[in-house]
Symmetry: C2
Subunit: 427 residues, 2 copies
């Protein structure tokens, strides 16, 4: 029966999963705020006109429908196009450079695969209104710091410049097919050198052009070398720009950044620096990416507005952190202790409230069901609550509690006056 | 041009608004966790089958469409029906009583009005799987504490029991029209006594029944009196149940709770205790409500699962807090300080990074645009950043910074070694 399950391609998040996710969001937001980003939100539903023509072939994955007023609308596909629309809608209230973070779900009607869902969160930072390469660097620096704050150290930050790809296209005389050239190049990680060579052939790129491209990819040039190989205006401006960005990265200690001429990034709207962060210890692929897009916002504003941004893929990140064992000691509940009782009479309730008051620095639940003591203890264990604080008539009259530590499997009877201290030292 | 604006009835949230909202969510979550609630999330889109038949006449407000696979689906209308479906879908992984909080947007195609939007957040707690009146009390206690944590003290918690309404209906021999009777009663706050008297007449309720109802509403009985007036089985069980709930509330210091026989709550699915929280100092109406619904989850599980819950209306709460002046000193940005510079050369960047390192307990932005000093200071002021930390050649060579306090309109030049201390004491 369909009605019992979440919609195909969607999923529920149980407490254990949602607690991990909340932890990630809180940590990441903290770092975003540290670097001068402020939050915004945009509606889940946008006019179709806002979304259409921005995503190329992927447009068919947008959830599109008519709202109750017959308006042609669609669900948010990413956070970048809504940001562009937001910027145009709110120009009068925005100071440039506008540094915003946004953490909201997006919807894509993709073929459901393992670990891929049709609803997932994006976690974006962008700087709108600056061409300063410092802003490009700030995006990478901030995302890198967020990863490190989460305990992730093994990664590489691949950096390239879209203008190098223009430079290569122009160099080989295929400037009209630059977007196509870049889209195929973007598949390098998935299909390998032969794979893209094959596709360039199938698409009818000239043989000598393909050979030229392959020669570059087989012996990837350094940032210094590329300008020698491809000597034109695009190449030079990309070089100057990336050199500056790398300088800022190096001075900030971002050792993970490497120049990679093969990095293309799928989306068409990038115009400058592009980057992608790949984990080196876990085979999970890219967990973050972004770049500069100086022509997108103009579609809405009708005047040029430069912008640069990046996105963290929360779901992949969680999977990676699970594989790295970073959640090994992670709780499946926020509740530290459960007050269990034999009989909920007035005296017991008063005593439970007194205990809760003394432990107000912790998350303490009072058992709210109808089970007997044994069931209450089983409930605490199943939820992953570490401590059961047991109160019976004896405890109440002695002004004590019995504490079961369900992790260490110990039990103590201690005075209510020592309760706070007991937990302060054993937490 | 439609494309420039958010969809009709929807809205963007600017940093100033989103910062307030994040503050509310963080405070509220903290209280929810304190009382033993854990978070879950459910998808925005559900099978139509899940949503249909649960909301009565309001069903027409659901955003309904076909997904890309031709499935009949709808956007989440509230968080209660998704919780019921969630419980049924995940029974094997859930321990009862299941205490969950959920903070997610919902969508309703309502007529846009001032302060009413078609997308808004709900903020719910529920306890599934317990008939224990302690769980009813925990819902009210937790929400009340969340309000107080936000600095809100002037409110009344109206409490009633759906079975009292059944009792009245049976007493007057209109038990077949109980739902209709309750729905009209629910409008009392909006249309007054005469208003509902008129509607009962229009709907053809017998004259002596209307008179009887009016007599009760004109001299609202206390919890003790109601059982004397309406002496039947429904009335007695509601009395016993509410008495217990009020006992827990009183012992927890919830002085704001009052019995109110006229409280009905619009939704049909309530079966027991119902409550509503109304602000007394601001004319903004109800900011929270909820109750017991023992028959809803059964639709999905096919066996009875009792439940009780409540919801906080975040948007109204923010409006109320604004009117109460609770946001008067609230920042419009998370950024504490902006590093401003005359010329971004290598030495300046190094110095800026040193400053950022020393102030890592604060949110410090480095200006990332292309404006000169004057523009940078104007930018700081417009974003509401309190401090501008100015570095020029002089400052760098003297190992100092110039600090402009944009709030107090003062300027100091201080040594970089005293920087951290300066902010630690003036924050």
């Amino acid at each position: 029966m369909a009605g019992l399950k979440p919609l195909k391609g969607m999923r529920d998040l149980l407490p254990q999963q949602q607690i991990r996710r909340e932890y990630l969001f809180e940590k990441i937001k903290e770092v975003f705020r540290k670097h001068g980003f402020d939050p915004i939100e945009t509606p889940a539903i946008e006019y179709w006109e806002v979304l259409s023509g921005k995503y190329g072939a992927e447009e068919k994955l947008i959830y599109r429908f008519q709202d109750r007023g017959g308006r042609d609308v669609g669900l948010r596909y990413d956070l970048t196009v809504p940001l562009a629309r937001f910027f145009a809608s709110n120009q009068g209230n925005i100071t440039k450079p506008f540094k915003r973070y946004q953490i909201q779900p997006v919807w894509r009607a993709e073929k459901p695969q393992k670990g891929r869902f049709r609803e997932f969160y994006q976690c974006d930072i962008d700087i709108v209104g600056s061409r300063n390469p410092l802003s490009d660097a700030q995006i990478i620096i901030t995302i890198r710091e967020a990863l490190r704050e989460l305990g992730i150290y093994g990664f590489q930050i691949k950096v390239n410049h879209r203008k190098f790809l223009s430079a290569i296209a122009r160099h080989f005389g295929i400037q009209e097919r630059e977007v196509e050239f870049a889209r195929i190049l973007d598949k390098l990680d998935k299909v390998g050198l032969e794979g893209i060579e094959k596709e360039y052939m199938e698409k009818g790129f000239p043989k000598e052009v393909i050979k030229g491209i392959m020669d570059i990819l087989k012996n990837p040039p350094s940032l210094e070398e590329i300008v020698e190989i491809i000597d034109n205006q695009d190449s030079l401006s990309a070089y100057e720009n990336l050199k500056r960005i790398f300088l800022y990265l190096k001075k900030t200690g971002v050792e993970e950044a490497v120049f990679d001429i093969s990095l293309a990034r799928g989306l068409d709207y990038y115009t400058g620096m592009v980057f992608e962060i790949v984990l080196t210890d876990v085979p999970i692929g890219s967990i973050s990416g972004g770049g500069r897009y100086d022509n997108l916002i103009e579609i809405f504003t009708k005047y040029p507005v430069p912008a640069v941004g990046g996105s963290i893929g929360i779901d992949r990140l969680i999977t990676a952190m699970e594989e790295m064992g970073l959640f090994r000691e992670f709780p499946s509940t926020y509740t530290d202790a459960l007050i269990c009782y034999f009989n909920m009479d007035e005296k017991t309730f008063d005593y439970a409230m007194e205990i809760k008051g003394r432990l107000d620095f912790m998350n303490v639940d009072i058992y709210s069901g109808d089970a007997k003591m044994r069931g209450q203890l089983a409930y605490a264990a199943e939820r992953g609550i570490r401590w059961a604080i047991i109160i019976g008539e004896d405890e109440i009259s002695r002004r004590t509690v019995s504490i079961k530590d369900l992790k260490r499997r110990t039990q103590d009877e201690i005075s209510i006056d020592e309760l706070a201290n007991y937990f302060r030292t054993s937490k």
